[in-house]
């Protein structure tokens, strides 16, 4: 069954040009790359994942080693499952480690959580203009999507101690994290809103994005949580929170 001659093949009139324009519609390479990054960050197949997890558990130090490898202030543990990450956020004893080698990102934190921005919008309409990301007097930060820094950096002196801007970021995110631990989702969002308004550069923006997502999960706002998860995956596809973001997106 070959079907009729396609309308796009017409040379007379506007039908042909109209449909040929639609035929050539394609996403920009940045969208393709971001999509590749997003799916690459998905967990491996369950059977392989379980096999690897069983092997890693036998070693005994995998959790600590992974916490040091993540390189984020939250000390988030990536054990291939969302539950471990959620545990690390909600348990007070997993207080955030000092931030090391934050992922360099020029992405802005999403709009103030009380009025979350559309996930497709990269700009927060209510936020003042922000200066470009500043270079840090720290060890070379990991490039976007690159592997986390190796173990050992977490034992250095707090890098933000001499950096007031970083200290502010850490303090505000600690506040958000503490609110989450106490099951106070709104307070966490308030702290993240202040983070968005008061900080510049936002070197810990990936962590803030993750905490925002968790706050919405805590509040039961599934749509907002899903938006935050998609935004996190789009902006930081190589980050340590992708497994949790995937889990949030898969929640009914």
């Amino acid at each position: 069954m070959n079907g009729p001659r396609r309308l796009s093949e017409r040379l007379d009139g506007p039908l042909g040009p109209l449909l040929r324009a639609a035929q050539t519609d394609a996403p920009p390479e940045s969208v393709i790359a971001a999509t590749v990054g997003a799916v690459s960050a998905l967990p491996v197949a369950a059977s392989l994942q379980m096999a690897l997890a069983a092997k890693a558990k036998a070693k005994g130090s995998v959790l600590l080693l992974k916490a040091l490898l993540t390189g984020f202030a939250g000390g988030v543990v990536v054990v291939g499952g969302a539950e471990a990450i959620h545990y690390a956020v909600t348990q007070p004893e997993h207080a955030p480690a000092k931030p090391v080698s934050p992922v360099q990102s020029h992405a802005k934190v999403t709009d103030r959580p009380a009025a979350p921005a559309d996930v497709a919008a990269s700009e927060a309409p209510n936020m003042p203009a922000q200066p470009p990301t500043r270079e840090l007097p720290l060890p070379a930060p990991a490039r976007h999507g690159a592997a986390p820094e190796p173990a050992g950096r977490g034992t250095e002196a707090p890098a933000h101690a001499a950096d007031p801007a970083m200290e502010l970021e850490v303090r505000l995110l600690d506040e958000a994290r503490g609110a989450l631990s106490a099951r106070r989702g709104r307070d966490a969002l308030d702290a993240l809103g202040r983070y968005a308004e008061q900080t510049q550069g936002r070197r810990l923006a990936p962590e803030a994005a993750y905490l925002e997502m968790e706050a919405y999960v805590l509040l039961g706002d599934r749509e907002a949580a899903a938006r935050s998860a998609r935004d996190l995956l789009a902006r930081y596809p190589g980050g340590p929170h992708v497994a949790r973001a995937r889990h949030v997106l898969s929640m009914p």
Binding site: M1, N2, G3, P4, R6, L7, S8, G13, P14, L15, P17, L18, L19, A21, A22, Q23, T24, D25, A26, P27, V31, I32, A34, T35, V36, A38, V39, S40, L42, V44, A45, L48, L52, A56, K59, V62, L65, L69, D118, V119, A120, A121, A146, A147, P148, E149, P150, E223, R230, D231, L233, A234, R246, L249, S250
Partner: protein, 195 residues
């Protein structure tokens, strides 16, 4: 002493068992995305996803598909992706509180004039016209029209992808083409007959 776990990947570092498996999986996933991303993008756009939302929606489709990759029958990837794209598009539209996709839009409502042939060189504007017309088309007709006219699938491929009888595909395509031609003609008439 070599760590039991492979060190974080970096350029030139040896790959451990997990990293090798992961690299292979990522290559497979990357190839899957690149093979179908344009198809998914166009499906989303032609089913009403605004350009601003299309990147996010595209990721959603592939996230779902990647999670199901092992269960999708070989050769049915496009069918799965198309169905997922339609669901994601419907969800995006619901979130934006736009008109439903069931063709309830009044096809006789005031339409924008068709630009001249020269103006149609502006691809973006042309696509906007196509999308406006498709917006008024019933979704069952739109699916057949998009797959046949825009994706240039054969009738048999369309029937297979949509799991429809060939006769149903032919019937819907005929009605869809008639609708599309009528809409274009109306817009051309509004311009005084000049193309």
């Amino acid at each position: 002493m070599r760590a039991e776990l492979a060190p974080p990947r970096s350029h030139g570092a040896p790959l451990g068992e997990r990293d090798a498996a992961r690299a292979s999986l990522n290559d497979e996933r990357s190839a899957f995305v690149r093979a179908h991303v344009e198809f998914v993008w166009r499906a989303l756009r032609r089913f009403g996803v605004p350009e601003a939302d299309a990147p996010d929606a595209t990721q959603q489709v592939f996230i779902v598909a990647t999670a199901e990759l092992g269960r999708i029958e070989k050769g049915r990837e496009r069918s799965f992706l198309f169905g997922t794209a339609l669901r994601v598009a419907a969800k995006v539209r619901r979130l934006r509180a736009r008109k439903p996709l069931d063709g309830t839009t009044d096809p006789d409502a005031q339409v924008a004039d068709l630009p001249s042939t020269e103006e149609l060189v502006d691809q973006r504007r042309a696509r906007a016209i196509v999308d406006e017309i498709l917006e008024r088309m019933a979704s069952d007709l739109r699916a057949v029209f998009v797959l046949y006219e825009l994706e240039q699938m054969t009738m048999a491929e369309v029937a297979d992808l949509l799991s429809l009888p060939p006769g149903t595909v032919a019937s819907r395509l005929r009605r869809a083409r008639e609708f599309f031609e009528r809409q274009v003609e109306r817009r051309t008439t509004n311009r005084g007959g000049t193309p």
